[in-house]
Structure formats: C-alpha cells, structure tokens
Amino acid sequence: MNGIAYTRLELLRTFRNRRFFLFSLGFPLVFFWLIAAPQHNKVIGGTGLTYATYYMVSLASFGTMMSMISTGARIAGERQAGWTRQLRISPLSVRAYFRAKVLTGYAMALSSLLILYISGSLLGVSLPAGRWLAMTGLIMVGLLPFAALGILVGHLVNTDSVGPLMGGLVSILAFLSGTWFAITSGFLHAFGQFLPSWWLVQARNVALDGHAWGIRGWITVAAWTAILAAGAAWAYRRDTGRV
C-alpha cells in the first residue's frame, strides 16, 4: 500500500536524528523547569492557574508548535538534496507525501507534550483523566495550522533561511500568544485572539473548568488551517524545479 512503509521509515529517520530531536524536545523542557519550578504552586494573577499548570501548557504549545514547523526544515533539507524531485518521479501521491510529513510532525509534538506533562505532574499539576485528554485533543487540533505552515515554509524557502525564519516566527507567535507571560487585557489581548497560536496556549484553561475555546477559537483555528493548507498545496505544486 502506497505510503505506509514510506511513513514508517520517515518516522524512523526523524527519531534517529538525535541532535535535532533532543534539541526540539529539550528546549521547552529546560524553560519549563527554569520558569515554573521555583514557585510552581503559586497562582498567577488574573489566570487562576498555578505557575506549573500555566507554563506546562504554554511551553507545550511552544514545543509542539516548533515540532510542527520543523517539518519545514526537514523539507527544505530534502529539497536541497534533490530528494523531493526524486520523490516526484515515483508514484508516491501528494496525499501520501503530506500525510507522512504531518504524521511525523505530530509524532514529535506528542513526544514533546508527553515530556512536559510528566514534568508538570512532578511539579504538582493534577487533573482528572478527562481533562488531560481534552487538553491534549485541543492542542492536537490547534496544531493543524502549524502542520500546514511547516509544509508551506519548507517548500518556499531554502535551508539557509529556514532556521532564522522558523525561530523568529515561533518567538513572535509565542510572545503574542501569552506563552511567556499572561496577556489578559488591552490591545495585545484583542490582537492575539486572531492568531492560531493564541488558541493553542488557551488550551490551558481546560485545567480550570474543562472549557477552553469558545466558538471564536474554533473558527480562528479552522480559518488558519484552511488558509495555510491552501498555501502549502500551492507551494508544493510550484516547487518542481531544481534547487
């Protein structure tokens, strides 16, 4: 069956790239312990959440967002190697190609999430099983726009610029979405809600009362997914030349 063995080996080779893997998992983890550990039981004003809960989800959002966008770096590398052209002269369908890339991104994101959940639990985050699941589900849905963004970026830029672009983009999105400190009012609060990453970070509110996204969150995530998926398909189609 076209694509299954391909996806399996694609996953295998991603997890084998130890430096890349440890870096993308380790970075959010280190930040979490640095920020949350000293006062993990203290409640952050205006949010009702403890430091541990707040930063567990914030940095999970940050880490998983990185995992998804880093698909772009892998694609850019494959293009540079001429491998994308090699795949294009094989019967691998576009659908199967995208599926492998997205699944690989999700596999990395889940690893990142799991490590932060464990760290959070160690610092006293305790939720009913249903809320853990709901939070995970929201994060998975919230990552859809970033799955598409990774493919879009990978087919648009070359290996030299993909690193700075990804780093810059994720930093700005993380800042505007309240990853580092709570944004509860004002212009940033109004503006942030238009960003897909905002809703990713909002998944933390599941810990409060089981609800995190209103209709606005779902619409924003769906709209970004549609726009970026269209962009990814466009970038893939036009990217047939030699790099």
């Binding site: 076209n2 080779r13 991603t14 590398g77 001429g82 052209r85 090699q86 002269i89 094989s90």
Partner: protein
Amino acid sequence: MTATAITHTDGGIRIEGLTKTFRGPEGPVRAVRGIDVTIAAGETAALLGPNGAGKSTTLDMLLGLSKPDRGTVTVFGRPPREAVDAGLLGAMLQSGALIRDLSVRELVAMMSSLYPRPLDVDEALELTRLQGIASQRTQKLSGGETQRVRFAVAIVANPELLVLDEPTVAMDVEARREFWVIMREFAARGKTVLFATHYLEEADANADRAILMAHGRIVADGPTTEIKARVGRRTLRATLPDVDPRSLADLPGTASAERHGDAVILSCTDSDRSIRALLERYPAARDIEIAGGSLEDAFLELTSEPDGKPEEPQTEEPQPQEPRPEEPEPQEPGPETEPEPAAR
C-alpha cells in the same frame, strides 16, 4: 504482472516539437528549441552534448518535472505524469544527495515500497554491488557509494524507462567502469535507457545510438559510429604564406581551409592524407601542427550548418568553402523522427 509487462512499453518514447524557454537575468534563455526524438522500447540511447545544451531540461520534461512551453512528450503512450504514477519511470537525476538517518537497505526499501512492480530489495542491492554497505547510514557514504545508492534507488523501481542524467560525474575511473557494467546488465533485461552525458566515450561504449544536442537543438542523431566519424576530424596548422586557401581545401583528406595571416588552418577528415599531399604540393609549408578535434569543435561545427538559425553565435570564422557536412541520416527506428531541427 509479467503478462502485461509487454503492453506497458508500447509506443516507446516520443518527443515532438518540444520547446522550453526560461527567464534569465539577461533575457529569455531558450533552453530547448523544438526537438523531435523517438526512442523505441528496449533501446539504449545517449543524449550527448556540452553543458547548457538543454539535456537536463529535456529530461526534466520527459520525467514530468517541468512542463513544456510547446510540444508533447509521451512515454509508452502516456503523458509523463501518468507514466510516473504507473511506476514505469526510474531516474537518477543530476547532482542529488541522499536523505540521512536511514541505512542503505532502508532507503532502497523505502523507495521500493512506492512502486507497483519493484525489484526485490536484495536484488537491487546485489545488482549495484551494495550488499557490503547495506547496513551503513546514508550520511556516512563516500561520493562514489552515494552515486551507487542513487542508482539502486532508480533501478529498484524496476522501471521500463531508466533515465540517467550525467550519472558518472562524481565518479573515479574505476567506479565509472563498474557503473556502466551495471547499467548494461539492467538494460539487457529489455529496458529502455536514456542517459545524458558530455563524454563521447561513454555514449560510444554504452549506447546503441547517440542524440547530439547543442544550444537546445538536436544536431545529429544516429549510431555512435557516425557521430564519432564527425568528431574524428583533426586540425592541421601550418605556416604557408601566399597560397589561396581555396586550393588547399581541395587537398585529399581535407574538408576546409582558412587563412590567419601567414598561417593556414586545414580541417581534415584524414589528416595523414592531408599532410602528405600538403608537403608534396607545397614543400615550403613549415611549423606544422596537427591537433585532434574535440567534441566541442564537433558541436560547434554541427550547429553552424548553413541552414542553422541566425541567432547561433558560435561561429568564429566564416567558412564559405566548407562543404556542407552531410545530413545526419535518420537511422533510428522511429518513423517520423526528423533529425534536422533547423527545418522547423
């Protein structure tokens, strides 16, 4: 599957009126200028030409990687994309690398899994002499090994048409020799092979037929022996004042002659006969040098045929006396192959 394998290759490869122009920094680059080629199933053909001749652009269109501006390509009766989806094509593209973090065997297996009728992975590794390094990671291979893995990736598809774009560029002499042995083994299974090269020897030793490209056109198409005869032309240079080059051009074994100051330059089809006749008739000739004609010279000569398009800039000297080289003979099996591209 084996019963239907014959019908997969009906029609061979047909390229008609193929044209591609790129935007370049100094205006449009007419990479391919209307070429027609027919390659029968089972044939091994070399696409021969200097850098920038349009070989890779032609192969890209054949593989469905780029769209022609005009003209059509069919591979076994189908458009290239359909032939790709049916798993009929395998290719070793120019200057590619491998993806990392897989073993050689895993990478070949990964590609094999995409095709409907692949070779057994072990068979592909054995054919390409890779069993010894099958468990090595792809990022740890030497340049020559990398090329062999890329070759294994192309043939594990078990394609009916194998396309190789300058496959031996990064190889040393021994690796090159071995590569062509493997290629011929694969071709002997009844496969159609088209490879691009700028080495005449490679075309001569490994192809039934050479298609010469220069400046986006096909300038000759026929058995390699014929091409070799054209390239075999040598240049004889001598100091010989006060002799009309026109009379020199009539010497036996001499195709053309021209004068540069006191020197005359003869283009010889048989330089042994030329020099004997020259010394017999003009004993004053001195400082004689004979140089072998290069493939590049042959391309230039072939592209400067009198009915060549005027925008061809490569003619350095007008050669009015030069007898027009005979037309390339259409010896390939394709019925409507038109080997004189300037006619269209």
